[in-house]
């Protein structure tokens, strides 16, 4: 089992709330993503059993939504917003800085499997730009010093 008992329980409860169980697909994908960090066929199959919705319907929905990585990523998934408000505040430089700090290109994972770096569309933190999301957390009003500190803390925690 990839999904924890707690996740399965949460999904099952969610499915009970809706008039139609199929509606629980996205919340279930989110629960799985928050626990596992990515989604794949094996995860879809477990979700299917948890919310009693056919596997194919889960896979179909999941592949449409870009928020969920479809293969394993580093322990920390760094998503930098590259959209206009962040770009005006230096998002491109932020990405370059992270590439240099981590020694990887955008889209890659560090050899120690700790960090994956990608850039994404607007995350709704436009007035606190530039920003990045690491796993579930938002880091806003970023400066090089803040980025150094965040990476150090995450490395220390890992």
């Amino acid at each position: 089992m990839i999904l924890s008992e707690a996740s399965v329980k949460l999904m099952a409860e969610k499915a009970e709330q809706y008039p139609r169980r199929k509606s629980a697909i996205l919340p279930a994908l989110t629960i799985a993503y928050r626990q596992v960090g990515y989604l794949d066929d094996a995860v879809y199959k477990e979700i299917s059993r948890a919310i009693k919705v056919p596997y194919v319907e889960i896979a179909e929905a999941a592949t449409f939504y870009t928020m969920f990585p479809k293969k394993p990523v580093g322990k920390y998934l760094i998503q930098v917003c590259h959209n206009i408000s962040c770009a005006l505040m230096g998002a491109d430089s932020l990405i370059e800085y992270l590439e240099e700090k981590l020694g990887i290109e955008k889209g890659e994972t560090t050899p120690d499997k700790l960090f994956t770096l990608i850039s994404v569309e607007c995350l709704g933190s436009c007035a606190t730009a530039p920003m990045m999301q690491i796993n579930q957390d938002f880091y806003e009003n970023l400066t090089p010093e803040k980025v150094d500190q965040i990476l150090d803390e995450l490395r220390a925690k890992a």
Binding site: S23, A87, L88, A127, D137
Partner: protein
Amino acid sequence: MSFYSPVRTNAAEAASDEKLHLFTYVEDPEQHTVKRYEEHGGYTAWKKVLADMKPEEVIEKVKNSGLRGRGGAGFPTGVKWGFVPKDSPKPRYLCCNADESEPGTCKDRVLMERDPHGVIEGMAIGSYAIGCHLMFIYIRGEFGHCIDRMEQARKEAYEAGHLGKNIYGSGYDLDLIIHTGGGAYICGEETALLNSLEGEKGLSRIRPPFPAVEGLYASPTIVNNVESLAAVPHIINRGAEWYKKLGTEKSAGTKIFSLSGHVKQPGNYEVELGFSLKKLIYDEHYGGGILGDKKLKGVIPGGASTPFLTPDMIDIGLDYESLVEQSSMLGSGAIIVFHEDTCIVWVILKLIHFFRHESCGKCTPCREGTGWLEQIIRRIEAGEGRKGDLETIEDLCGNILGRTICPLGDAAVMPIQSALRLYREEWEYHIENKKCQVKSHYPFK
């Protein structure tokens, strides 16, 4: 005091100005709890509605207030509620659209994080008005903190008896489901939102039938933006007349503007509709002027899908009509400012890349057209523009505009068309000289 998001707000002003109401308590770190919300007069409107008002009276009041949709379209909220057929035997649903993802927009996030019960109370009143007993809030999946906050608020609202069975002994039942999205911009479009809520891919639906007649699970459904619903309890408490007097004659009320880009003090500011755009950008209480005291080059007034304004066009009121007069739109109230060191082709490239990525792929003009547009614009930006490119872009835009099921296609081309109209020389310079007139490269500090 610490909040999840460090975003700047004008809560201090809102607390001392009785006209402002959405931001009055957003700097109170306990406002998200049901206890503090009640202490601040929360849920009195919901009680009043259930005790003294008929659904049609609620609709009438919201109609008379002049409240218009704050998500972008600006459609009168009360009129929308009135579209739900009275005689339908099917259940009715209310969906709060919290899939905030129009680039530049970061206002609903603040309301959900810091005043979630205000959103729930507005949803409850809207639900009662249309005869709904099960309401949804569709929150974009990346807003993990908002999802957690709303789940907590939901739990507290049930425990305090504001939701559930036989609320306040009125005999009215109302349930709330917190739904989470998967990061698709298209799901902020109401019919795509409904498909997504049903567990399908987020593709938009052909209208008619409109959701008010046939929406979620083919039943009458109303979709309203977070900010629109958050205004409703205040309208009930203080009256339609009070609300109607705020703002301008045709654009009543207040609006939260998300100010971002090259300003000294980006933030979310609640002001009356009709407030001066120039003042919002330059006044020390709001934007505080342009970063580095540089010259303003342009403004995107209502989110990434609205046509640009040049500096000579910003001496206007921020209301639905004034923006239309400038051939633009108020949209979601996301004001993106850029100064003189910004290449217009680069700005447009960022925007078209977004729309190509977010096109759901259902309509050919949008699916294919946004891709072509991005390719051409990327080529121009890289210094490989060719004679005739601008005409090709215009032709493509003309073939997308008005030819798609949902407004995403229009949203993608309107800023491009305006940028070609307003900054044509710069595009021509870019193509002729194979480089930017000014290079957009900003450090982050």
